[in-house]
Amino acid sequence: MSLTDLLRGPDFQYNFAFLDEGAKREVRRALLKAVALPGHQVPFASPELPIARGWGTGGLQVTMSLIGPDDVLKIIDQGCDGSVNAVNLRKLLVATTGVHTTFDSREATLLQSRHRLPEIPMTEGQIAVLQVPLPEPLRLVEPSEVETRRMHAEGDYARMWVSLYEDVVQNGSVSLSWGYPCRVNDSYIMSPSPLPRWDLHMLHDAEHLTLLGAGREKRVYAVPPHTSVRPLEFEDIPFTVEDFSGMACARCGSTDTFLDEIYDEKTGQASRVCSDSGYCDLVRQGMIRTRQADRA
């Protein structure tokens, strides 16, 4: 039995984009508030979906509440269109909306992602929806939600800075890799979902709107276009991104993308490929020129 059959019972018809219109409106209200207060975590009801908590229900609810019949949708997981969870979420959204989907991030009006932004910076009119497991950057230093809400409200970020300092003392640099805390609009500290450091510059002064949804923790937050997003850093210890110097994608040859390490199933030989599969395919097909080719 297909998903479409399941969604159309003999005497029951699911709504467009699964959620009922009242629930969607509630999410959109929270999103409006989130856009008005960049980086601030706005509580919302977060009803259960047929997808498990922790598997992208926050992002999915944001997408469901925004999507219309004319949208063009791209869903990626770890940068990849074909990753199991992306396939699953796309199937649900297509079955309940019938929208067109794409693998080319430039064509998408709505892009839902887990752990990555596409290599090609998004543009005006596009919306990035990020799935967030742990929205609270201060959870690192404070387990209590009451306390972290207070800290945000009062801009009391001293413990965060101290923890970064201690990290530097112990490790020589800040050991946080993904979800690196950022200051948004010179105000709230925000967890940029588990994006790698590599992607953070694409949130800063972006042309597109980024919406972040945490389903299990029942929070949404946003980075509107042209808003500053600055990773926390010390004057004398600057923020750095992942270093892939001297490496290239084994598929498309790119030397300026986020690379995943892969190991050959038979030989165990390590090689590297672009994490952004859509970008990688476009380069291979000659549809776009790589950035290093542009510079050459």
Binding site: S173, L176, P196, E242
Partner: protein, 374 residues
């Protein structure tokens, strides 16, 4: 179009789902009917209704069939289905004191006004495997049913004859609840009046701490049975101080009513649901502003017949009211944010998803730090 390995992933998912269906059905036995699950697996159906947050034996049983009996998965299916239903109205507070009693016991007093009704319980059964059940047939089934019904119509088993019917005996109104006896003597604090405001709805808004009592009890009512049991047990056993006495435990049918849509002051009965309700009295406390100490009180209620869950809720309700919380079960955030089965099982299983990018970022960091050490 992604990588070759990824293309295989799409087919693999489809095949995996086919395998699931195949494994459920490959045996030669007849397909399990939803009615069979509803009728013969009552406690399981009740558990799924309670954790799924939807009172519908049919949908719970259907979910159990689809999930091959896995209660977490079945509750998850029900919870997801629930999200698609329109919230039409708010019911009036349910009168549990006007419950049609299927079972009513007190461990505080040997006899209670209105009497104890043992009803259906396995509490006093020897837990010995009954091998005759393996040989159960239509004939033995009919025999057992007939035998019971005949004996139940005798005067000595009067109340049992109406068991499970909507016409089960109504709780004796004159006697009220056991807690009221204690309350009349001033041994239990009067019900708080500050909480008599419209209940919040955890399905409509995100909870914020400190959470009011209506929100707390709602979250516990949907919580996973094993989860609330574990935390309540910690409080009973030593990490906390709630040693409960069950003042009263009731299982029975209560009516769900709404205000009449047109006629002011009148009500409409939508139907009835089975609930389990527990009131426990616990350690002596000296409430602020009161001269004399009283027993503290814990309240628990959930859909269906699930006594372990209702008692656990009662214990946790009491524990979370501790004036100076120190044990885990006394911490609202700890209890409420970690006992929802759908949330916790979902997050637990998400670790099976690929984490290539985040792990790559971790690797990168570790290598960087190791270089710093050199």
């Amino acid at each position: 179009m992604g990588y070759v390995a990824v293309q295989g992933g799409i087919t693999a998912i489809e095949n995996s789902q086919k395998l699931n269906r195949y494994l459920r059905l490959r045996g030669a036995s007849a397909p399990l009917s939803v009615t069979q699950i509803m009728e013969q697996m009552g406690p399981l159906v009740d558990r799924v209704m309670s954790e799924g947050g939807l009172y519908s034996p049919f949908h719970a049983a259907l979910a159990l069939k689809q999930a091959s009996g896995d209660p977490l998965e079945a509750s998850f299916l029900v919870r997801a289905f629930r999200s698609t239903l329109r919230r039409m109205t708010e019911s009036l507070p349910v009168r549990t004191d006007r419950m049609r009693i299927l079972r009513r016991i007190s461990s505080a007093f040997k006899t209670i006004p209105g009497g104890q009704v043992l009803g259906s319980t396995s509490d006093y059964e020897q837990r010995i495997l009954d091998f005759s059940l393996a040989e159960e047939t239509k004939e033995t089934q009919a025999e057992t049913v007939q035998e019971f019904e005949e004996s139940a119509s005798s005067p000595t088993l009067d109340s049992a004859s109406t068991y499970s019917a909507d016409s089960a005996p109504l709780a004796p109104e004159d006697f009220g609840k056991v807690v009221d006896i204690l309350r009349a003597q001033g041994l239990v604090a009067p019900p708080p009046t500050t909480e008599l405001r419209p209940a919040m709805d955890i399905t409509q808004e995100s909870v914020e701490f400190p959470l009011g009592r209506s929100g707390r009890l709602q979250m516990l009512a949907r919580a996973e049975t094993g989860g609330v049991l574990a935390l309540a047990y910690s409080s009973m056993r030593g990490y906390g101080s709630v040693h409960p006495t069950v003042a009263e435990l009731r299982v029975g049918r209560v009516r769900v009513q709404i205000p009449h849509p047109f006629r002011t002051g009148e009500t409409v009965t939508l139907g009835s649901i089975v609930v389990t309700e527990v009131e426990i009295v616990a350690s002596v406390q000296r409430p602020e502003g009161e001269e004399k100490p009283t027993f503290s009180l814990g309240y628990g209620a959930c859909f269906g017949h699930n006594e372990v869950k209702a008692i656990s809720i009662g214990v946790l309700d009491r524990a979370m009211k501790s004036p100076s919380p120190h044990a885990p079960a006394e911490d609202q955030e700890f209890v409420l944010l970690h006992t929802d089965g759908i949330e916790s099982s979902g997050f637990c299983s998400h670790f099976k998803l690929p984490h290539y990018v985040t792990f790559q970022a971790d690797l990168n960091r570790l290598r960087d730090i190791r270089r710093n050490d050199e």
